[in-house]
Structures are given as structure tokens and as C-alpha cells.
């Protein structure tokens, strides 16, 4: 299993506009193209997870995640906010790069935790924040994932 399998360019947004955690979460959720009610429920779930402790893991990267019945398979999205957003990250720095992960409560393939771990591993790779900052197209993001072979 490699991360590239879970992304396509439709779930990559390199120009998020939000200036707050809530706005960013809503923009990320919108990338999944769910119905309005499901979007609302998912937002509440992600907020509750953030209230337990920030998913900002440092180096300008956050991985908001949760399980929810509003999706019937693992869904992932990536977003970038060049200006950075206060996210209460563990290093107290603003977050620029967001990986959203949502999975149903029960998955046949059980990919949620391995994918969460792989994204955390990707985030720790040398030069990753710098490379994410320089991306100009979603295709370049997908190519970066392939290059890193995570």
C-alpha cells in the first residue's frame, strides 16, 4: 500500500483561503464532495477530535482525522494555506499543510491507521515541508508522493 493510491487531483487544493481552523476544516471537507448534512456531521466530528488535542504534528503539517459513518470508504484530501493558520500544533507554529483522513467505523480493508501512520511518516521526511511549499499543481503533489514511495 502506498499513499499515492488514495489521492487524485480532485482532492488536492493548493490555495485554501481559510484563516481559522474551522474555515480550513470546512474547505477540506468540501473536497470530499459529500452531501450538506454529512459535511455538517463530519465537521462536528473533526472538531471534537481537535478538541481532544490538536492534530498539528509540527513542521507546518496537520492531519485532521476521524472515523465517521458518513463515508463508506477511506477518504483523504490535501490542502495548503500558504499564509499559515493557527492550529495549536505541538510546536506552536502555524500550519500550512493539511492532510484530511476520514474512514468508516468498520473497514473491511482496515487501511485507516496504516494510512494515518504513513502520512505522519511522510511529514517527517527530509525536505517535505519545503517541497510542499513549492508545489504549483496538484499533479506535482501526486508526483511528490510517488517520489517518496511512502
Amino acid at each position: 500500500m502506498v499513499l499515492r493510491e488514495f489521492f487524485d487531483k480532485d482532492v488536492v487544493a493548493l490555495d485554501l483561503q481559510g484563516d481559522s481552523k474551522d474555515e480550513i476544516l470546512k474547505e477540506l471537507i468540501a473536497l470530499l464532495a459529500l452531501d450538506e448534512k454529512s459535511e455538517g456531521i463530519l465537521f462536528k466530528m473533526l472538531k471534537r477530535r481537535e478538541n481532544l488535542g490538536s492534530t498539528g504534528i509540527g513542521r507546518g503539517i496537520a492531519i485532521p482525522h476521524c472515523r465517521s459513518l458518513v463515508v463508506n470508504r477511506l477518504r483523504i484530501a490535501f490542502g495548503r494555506r500558504k499564509a499559515g493558520v493557527e492550529f495549536k500544533a505541538i510546536d506552536d507554529h502555524p500550519v500550512h499543510y493539511f492532510f484530511l483522513i476520514v474512514a468508516p467505523p468498520l473497514e473491511v480493508s482496515n487501511q485507516y491507521l496504516p494510512v494515518l501512520g504513513k502520512i505522519a511518516q511522510f511529514a517527517k521526511e527530509p525536505q517535505v515541508p519545503e517541497r510542499l511549499a513549492k508545489l504549483e499543481t496538484p499533479e506535482e503533489f501526486l508526483a511528490l508522493l510517488e517520489e517518496k514511495s511512502v
Binding site: 490538536s54 476521524c66 458518513v70
Partner: protein
């Protein structure tokens, strides 16, 4: 979506999150190592939120929810393509196709789980 189903869905999702944190290794390990989550505090917060949401259930729904929750892990099951994914039995055609029916609080005739229709 029926408002009570929305509450039931949130309770179920929070319980799934709680179960994952309670298991040694797996989810708990990821949360502690990658996100530096204070797991005991998180579990306490989740319990509080679940209790609060349970208080939002109407008494008849809550009684049914409590009865079911004592025996099964998931009281809400997705219905996908006309099948209840709790027991994998077809949902009555009238329920699966009628939009007004789908907006009410429906349950599976076979297993009794509340149904969440996934389109």
C-alpha cells in the same frame, strides 16, 4: 436526515473513536506517538460528550438505543444499495426508495438497527 438519527450517528462515531483509543497498540499508539494525545484525558472527554448526546435523545429513541447498545456494538448501520450493512439483509423496497420515508427515523426490519442511507 432525521435529527435523532444525526445524534445517534454522532454517538456511534464517538464510541468508535473511544474504542480505538482503549485498545492497546493500534490507534492508541498512533495517537500517543504521532499526536502526543493525552489518552486518559481524551477518553474522559469522549465519555462526557457521549453522555451529553445521549441526553439529547427522545425518551423512546433512547430506550431503544440503550436496549440495543447493551447487546451490539453498532446501533446505526449504513444502508447501501438497499442493503442493511448491519445484518446484510435487503431493506424493504418502500423504505429504500421513498425519500420521505428515508427522512424519518427508520430501522432494519431484520436486525432492528437504525438505518443511515448512504447515497
Amino acid at each position: 436526515m432525521h435529527p435523532q438519527l444525526e445524534v445517534l450517528l454522532q454517538i456511534q462515531d464517538l464510541k468508535a473513536q473511544k474504542r480505538e483509543l482503549e485498545e492497546a497498540g493500534g490507534g492508541r499508539q498512533v495517537q500517543e506517538e504521532q499526536f502526543k494525545l493525552d489518552v486518559p484525558a481524551a477518553l474522559e472527554a469522549l465519555d462526557g460528550k457521549i453522555e451529553e448526546l445521549e441526553g439529547d435523545l427522545d425518551p423512546p429513541v433512547r430506550r431503544r438505543y440503550e436496549r440495543m447498545a447493551s447487546g451490539i456494538t453498532r446501533v446505526v448501520a449504513p444502508a447501501i444499495n438497499g442493503t442493511c450493512y448491519g445484518c446484510f439483509v435487503s431493506v424493504a423496497t418502500s423504505v429504500a426508495s421513498d425519500r420521505s420515508e428515508r427522512n424519518s427515523l427508520r430501522s432494519c426490519d431484520n436486525c432492528g438497527r437504525f438505518l443511515y442511507f448512504v447515497s
